[in-house]
């Protein structure tokens, strides 16, 4: 079905991302590519769906054959008629704004008749009961719903091969379970599935073979049984996450401390639901994990706490002193999930000290040194790698020395070692007069980092 012969891939002439990859995947197989961030997993996926060479400017040597066709001779739309793709971030996946039109647009573009489209839609609804997602505005869907729609879209397209690039990165446990069931159905229908992932536990029921990728090479191949027998320690040594579902071991919030949310009320725009919190108490010097399903209101909760949600009605006290929204905004700092939103200046050193009065130069330099950023201090933040950018954002937050520190999904799509590193960085920010909040779905990360968890589901109310 898919045959790769000795391919090498580079984005610039001097940087080799894939080196001598050869593999053969049979019809109906499910293959997992695992390995650390930057090992080249995604590049294998993107060379199969044609995006690497045709959109990202990669230079590829060697042969890739799909269903007997050499993809060098195919246009991108011809490859897309053989292989459908699911991307890491579902928000980048869609071309239409209406969900139904999105499902149909591929079928319209390959020129199917209306009857044939109806047939495919009803067939899809039989396999995946997602009628509630039809005819909605894609921007109003939660991350989980978007990813479910992406997988449904790849089924309706009728291709025999589906490639997925870290599809669980932004999903909560419940949605990961749904995605896992959807993929099992695709496999039962005889589709060939190629997926690269960090969180691998949810794939263990369907995977046939695992390829371990390192520095652009396949360093090991495992049959399903052999891979399942690897111990958690061995997996972590290989820089992989656990292959069974991790249980959350962090205790629920103890409701003691000096930051008191006497009340917090917020109504969502689009539904008749909202957040309603009464008498929640948090303690300085602790790290709180904010958990709950995609779309439950975790980000809204932290925006209300920071004081940027005008519509939130709240009474919040620190050491018995009432904090206005403005007070909270002054004492808060946030590392966003996509750090590209929060890098504003032309050099790392300026970025770290932006908006902070009377900052000492030597303190900034020491901080940069601690975060292994000193050598890049005069570089433009946007010219750095993803991990480095995230560390710059963390540095700027640490430099502001805020009493309330927020991290939004800091480890999404991260391998084991980088996750442990971020955990260390967050714990390093802990201090007696500070409360740290982490919004995360990453159970392993929360177990390693948080003191307590706050489940937002408990505060969601109908209004």
């Amino acid at each position: 079905m898919v045959e790769i012969k000795n391919i090498s891939l580079s984005y610039k002439s001097d940087e080799i991302v894939l080196n001598g990859i050869s593999l053969r995947v049979e019809k109906g197989e499910c293959i997992l590519f695992a390995g650390r961030s930057g090992s080249g997993k995604s590049s294998i996926i993107n060379s199969i769906n044609g995006l690497a060479a045709r959109c990202d400017g990669a230079i590829i040597d060697g042969d890739i054959k799909i269903a007997g066709n050499d993809i060098k001779n195919l246009e991108l739309y011809e490859i897309s008629m053989l292989v459908s793709s699911v991307f890491q971030n579902p928000k980048t996946h869609f071309f239409n704004v209406n969900t139904t039109l999105e499902l149909l647009s591929y079928l319209e573009n390959i020129g199917l008749s209306r009857e044939e489209m109806d047939k495919r839609l009803s067939d899809m609804l039989e396999v995946f009961p997602i009628k509630h997602l039809l005819n909605r505005d894609i921007f109003m869907l939660s991350g989980g719903e978007k990813q479910i729609l992406s997988i449904a879209a790849s089924y309706i397209s009728g291709t025999n091969i589906v490639v997925l690039d870290e599809p669980s990165s932004n999903l909560d446990g419940e949605n990961i379970q749904i995605v896992s069931e959807m993929l099992a159905k695709l496999k039962n229908k005889g589709l060939t599935i190629l997926v690269c992932e960090h969180r691998i536990f949810y794939l263990m029921d369907i995977v046939d073979r695992v390829f371990l990728i390192q520095d652009g090479k396949i360093i090991n191949k495992y049959e399903r049984e052999d891979f399942l027998n690897l111990s958690p320690k061995k997996l972590n040594d290989l820089n992989l996450r656990d292959n069974s579902k991790t249980k959350l071991t962090v205790p629920e919030i103890s409701n003691e401390g000096n930051l008191k949310i006497r009340s917090l009320e917020f109504k969502f725009d689009t539904t008749n639901t909202g957040l309603s919190i009464k008498n929640l108490t948090l303690e300085t010097g602790k790290i709180y994990g904010i958990i709950g399903a995609n779309g439950v209101g975790k980000s809204t909760f932290i925006r209300c706490l920071i004081g940027v949600e005008r519509k939130s009605k709240d009474e919040i006290f620190l050491d018995r002193k009432k904090l206005s929204k403005k007070d909270r905004l002054k004492m808060s700092s946030l590392v966003m999930q996509d750090v590209n939103h929060q890098l504003f200046t032309d050099s790392v050193v300026n970025e770290v000290s932006l908006g902070i009065k009377g900052v000492q130069q030597n303190k900034v330099e020491e901080l940069l040194d601690n975060l292994e950023l000193y050598d890049f201090k005069d570089r433009h933040p946007m010219s750095l790698s993803g991990g480095q950018k995230q560390r710059v954002a963390i540095a700027s937050v640490v430099c502001k020395d805020s009493k309330l520190m927020f991290f939004d999904e800091p480890t999404s799509g991260m391998d084991y070692k980088n996750m442990i590193r971020i955990s260390g960085l967050v714990k390093g920010c802990k201090s007696n007069d500070r409360i740290i909040f982490i919004v995360s779905h990453d159970i392993e990360f929360l177990n390693a980092t948080a003191d307590y968890v706050v489940d937002i589901k408990k505060f969601k109310k109908r209004v």
Binding site: T92, S105, G111, K330, D338, H341, T345
Partner: protein, 228 residues
Amino acid sequence: MLDYEENPYNPNPVTKLFTTFLFGLTAFHQINILFEWGAVLLLSFIFYKNGFIRDAIKNITSFGLLCLLPNLTVIQSAHFILKMFLMLLLMYRIFYFPVTSGKLLVKTSDVGSVISSMDKLKLPRAVSIPVAVMFRFFPSFREERRNIKLAMKIRGIDFKNPLAYIEHVTVPLLIMSSNISDDISKAAETRCIANPIKKTRYIPLKVKFIDFLYTVLVLAILVGGLLW
């Protein structure tokens, strides 16, 4: 099969494109104020019937405010900073109708119908695909801009120093814009948008009564406003 229904008050993109072009003529020759109000109310009606109630109200209030602008001779005698500011508003007043009609086009048309409209007009793919990507760009852009604004608020970047503000807002906005357009292009390509065969439409592009009515009303307003 589908509960997707077309709104009978939503003209098709060809009509909206054509009327935007017609409204463009008001930038060269102002029409009578009463007819201008007729156009404002017509645009607000279409916004309203397509579920954009806030835009419908905004349209009426902002045009009302623009009508309060003093005339050129008064502006010329004003202080130079005020003059600059008023001139900018006056420019906006001149281009008000094509801009608002363009906004209506972008907000009420889905990407698929825009592509098939352009196919009907026999525009080459090299034109229609970038235009379609552009259409899809705005809703994504709005979402990203909200995040950037949040980050700026928390970092304490405000408008007190306008030059620094503009510099700080530009960097992430440019990077995000280029990322968005990359992502949309990839989504479009993997949806076989470049497939050269004749495409089908689940909901075919129809000429409805509203297309006829809307075009006639716009023409009547423009011609009436010129001759009055």
